[in-house]
Each structure stands twice: as C-alpha cells, then as structure tokens.
Symmetry: C2
Subunit: 132 residues, 2 copies
DNA sequence: TCAATTGCGTTATGCTATAACGTGTGCGAT
DNA sequence: ATCGCACACGTTATAGCATAACGCAATTGA
C-alpha cells in the first residue's frame, strides 16, 4: 500500500504526533489542533484511521493512544509485528521489531489454525531512567 | 499471591465470566448481574480489579473486555506472559503461553534497560471455523 | 476501645469512540 | 457537459468505557 498524499487534516494530525514526545489520545490531539480549526473528535479519528492504514501511526491498545511510527523506512515493509515498551514513569514509548518472536508467534498461531490479521505486543513497565 | 476467599460481588463477577462463551465488557457483566442486585459500574470494576490481581481474570486491551483465565492450574505461576488469539468472527478467545517468546522478549527488553511490569500480547484474526 | 483496612453502595463525572446526517470537490464514463 | 460516484469534510448527537468522591458497615489487631 503506497502512501498517498496526505490531506490537510491528515497532515495536521501527523504533525502533531510527530512533534510530540510521547503518545497522545485522540482528544489530546484535538485540543492541540483547535487553533488550526479542529472542532470535533471525528476530524481526528478520521485522520487517524487513514494514518493507521498507511502505517504512519500506531495505536497503543493499552493506553488508548497513538504514536507516530518511528521506523526510518519508507513504510513499505508493513508486514511484520511491531512491539512497544511503554514507560509508566515518563511516558516514553519505544518501538521495536524482532523476527524470532514473529516467527515463533506465527508458528504457534498456525498450530491453532488461526489466521492473524493484527498483532499487538505492548510491554508496560519502567525505562532505565525511571526505574524504581 | 495466594487467592483469598472471594467476596460476594467478586464471586458473582467471576461466575458471570466463567460461564460466558467469550469475553465480556464491564457493562455487559453489569447487565447480567442486575438481577443479583448490581446497580452501578463500580461494583463490577472493583470486583474485576481484585480478580485481575489474583490472576483469575485477564483484561483484553484491544477489546476493552475481560475473560476468565483458562489455565487449569492453581494460579501460583503468575509469572509468565499470557498471549491470546481473538477471533473477530465468533469472538472466541484462546489463551496460550510460550517460554521461548517470553525469554526472547525478556532479552530484548533487558537490552533496552527496561523493567517489565506487564506484557500484553493479543492477536486479532479469524479462527479456523471463521476464516474467510 | 480505637484506628486502620477493606468492601460496599450511590451519584456524578470524565474520557474514548462512533452513528447519522448533509455538504463540497474531483474525476471518469457516457 | 453533466451525471454519477468516491472521498474528504463538518456538525450534532449519542454510545460505550472508566473513575472520582462521598459516606457507611464490618473486620481485625494493637
């Protein structure tokens, strides 16, 4: 899926996420974009839906929040599992990928005769700086 | 963490989940327990908090819903990662565990100097019966 | 007995997400 | 050219998920 030109709203949401330190909820994004003319949650959610589809943004299920994809790539290799560490102290989110986990999960799931559509891996805890 | 005697509300919520085919949201549980005297969401959420703490129930982050733990054991080995396949067709949830994934994830996370508190692995897709 | 803890019930509120409606714009087929 | 379609957009209303804050009752242990 090639990434098409982003619309105005999509660009604004993408920009807000890209410039943010950490993940943001849809409503936080909405607040940041009020000055740019955003007035309703749907404007944010519709843009997010597309950005998720293009692989430019990830949804963190355990946070009900969104982050810009940090992969340096051209977003062509959207096959593949994305995992996250999420620091409960500072909110920092780190995205990572690992083929070994991917293959192992894939084998286990196949053994169940299950067809994967989306895999969520999120690790909550504390980063080095915030560790108790 | 030994499992103490459950209170009345905890037992009712546990029972509702245990007898359910699939995952239930807190509000669905509330509706099922109205006849038993439940009136407010907090009654459900408070019971769920304890059941989660005891390891008798899991929360599915990608569904905002809860399932009874299907492990046959005595819930003493609460160390360890739990993973789920979630069928979008029939709603069936299958819980599974794998040491290889656990160790691999653990190593990757340690390399980030990150301390894990809770790991979420959820695979959305279709089970054999529901596959397209 | 007193203080601390835990569970419970209730009301109110806040956060997250989508339904349903209508408008405007670009673009290809007839 | 214009009709029909797909798509993005804007708005209002509503649905669904979760917790704050208050007070009461029962239990326990110093």
């Amino acid at each position: 899926m090639a990434t098409p030109q982003l619309t105005k709203n999509q660009s604004l949401v993408m920009g807000a996420l890209a410039h943010s330190e950490g993940p943001m909820s849809a409503y936080t994004i909405l607040d940041k974009l009020r000055d740019q003319g955003f007035r309703a949650p749907l404007q944010v959610y519709r843009a997010l839906d597309k950005l998720l589809e293009y692989g430019l943004v990830h949804r963190l299920e355990s946070l009900n929040a969104f982050v810009a994809c940090t992969c340096p790539h051209d977003h062509e290799h959207d096959r593949g599992v994305t995992a996250f560490t999420i620091c409960e102290g500072c909110g920092q989110v780190t995205e990572f990928h690992d083929e070994a986990i991917e293959e192992r999960l894939s084998a286990l799931v196949r053994a169940q005769n299950f067809k994967t559509e989306k895999t969520t891996i999120e690790i909550r805890g504390h980063c080095g700086s915030c560790a108790a």
